[in-house]
Symmetry: C2
């Protein structure tokens, strides 16, 4: 493969490398647009080439194959989601744990509703023949859970994470997993709270997925904002954050700006 050195950490020096980087950016941008309109499985390299004003085989100079483009779009989407979540969380004071939790959940939902196809690529059914390269996607792909756990861990260290009522027993094997995760992520929260954090994590995405993917019936919920706000409040409580101080409900929480 005659691909040139493409280390993104090194600023492109020569004009040729600059042009190449720009073309690749265009390809990703066009791919993102096609993805948003037609969905992941319908992503077509030929269509991207057409929009790029180039013959179909030319894009293979920049992208090895369709899966490679999918990987780029995956990283692109994870990064954008992670940026927006981080920004939403950072907009509130560090000690406002309930507010930060609410902002995190609302940011994820806002992005998901704005970019349903890209959300589907990240959190929907896996693309049939495609295996995401873990060494490239786990980093961007774990930003949301890291942000969530960071909020919960901060609340715990500040003594603001209430021990949950009705302690569900944590089985030994699960405790081993949690212990390892706690070490890898540098957390302090004990097992029951950590396990609940995982549940809150999956529940958040479950709720959002149902809304984005249309799993609720057509006109089942006329007030999805209120429904999500309610769920978010319950989940904050479940995570141990107690009743959300910065009101978790209503339109204002969904559009914090």
């Amino acid at each position: 493969m005659p691909q040139t050195a493409r280390d993104p950490s090194v600023k492109p020096s020569t004009p040729r490398e600059r042009a190449r980087a720009r073309t690749l950016e265009d390809i990703v941008r066009l791919g993102r647009e096609h993805l948003a309109v037609h969905g992941a499985a319908a992503l077509s390299l030929r269509a991207v080439a057409r929009d790029l004003g180039v013959v179909s085989s030319a894009v293979y100079r920049y992208v090895e194959n369709r899966d490679e483009l999918l990987t780029l779009l995956l990283i692109d989407a994870y990064t954008e989601l992670g940026d927006e979540v981080d920004a939403a969380v950072a907009a509130l004071p560090e000690a406002d744990y309930a507010g930060r939790f609410s902002a995190l959940g609302s940011a994820v939902r806002r992005w998901a509703l704005r970019e349903p196809a890209r959300y589907g690529l990240l959190f929907g059914s896996p693309v049939p023949g495609y295996r995401a390269p873990a060494e490239r996607t786990t980093g961007p792909g774990t930003r949301v859970i890291h942000a969530l756990m960071s909020v919960l861990d901060g609340a715990y260290r500040a003594g603001r994470l209430a021990a949950p009522g009705g302690h569900a027993a944590v089985a030994p094997l699960l405790a081993a997993d949690l212990e390892r995760i706690r070490g890898e992520m540098g957390l302090a929260v004990p097992d029951p709270l950590l396990a609940r954090g995982a549940l809150v994590w999956t529940s958040l995405f479950g709720t959002i997925s149902f809304e984005v993917f249309g799993q609720y019936g057509a006109g089942t919920f006329a007030a999805p904002d209120d429904l999500f706000a309610h769920h978010l409040a319950v989940l904050a409580n479940l995570a141990g954050l107690g009743p959300a101080a910065h009101q978790a409900g209503g339109q204002s929480a969904v559009h914090p700006k």
Copy 2:
């Protein structure tokens, strides 16, 4: 369209109709196998035709197009899932509400892990160009939520559904939605419990989706059974069922046979 009358409620009388029904069953069966192996977006009518030992165009005598086959597979999957959930719930006494809830969740998970591609078709990202015909899919598609709400409603009517602590306020618009749903489904549970039931519903599928779709990292959870059992116990508590009487955790809950 020269399609014959194909009302499934009428038993096929003539041998021609019998043969036709049998061929259509074969097509659905082969489609199901292809779906399980290659995923929804890669479902190919030509491949089904090959396996059927027939030229590709012949399949169009039985199935209008690819979307029609997808609809048949959708109904087929919803029905199988609904049957298994109903059977798992009915295997426990009606008054064992916590046990029935646990059985329901475990049955969904068991089916999802056994049939990941079909699960993805039902609860994953929507197939790009495809719109499920609501008049044919909502019936089979709402069986699980009906079963879940039936358990919760029964527990409530029996006075066994605890009022949840930390009541999250139910916004007026949401209350209107809940009132309508309560009427359509013939339920008695009040708003806070109904809203929590919806959250438990989406959370259950969120957890299962994360596991089936590999959203947890590769080796993040070595004990997924224990993790799910824990989540199920917390969700039962969240729904208002209190600590699950028929122990909700462990392998025995996942494989209740």
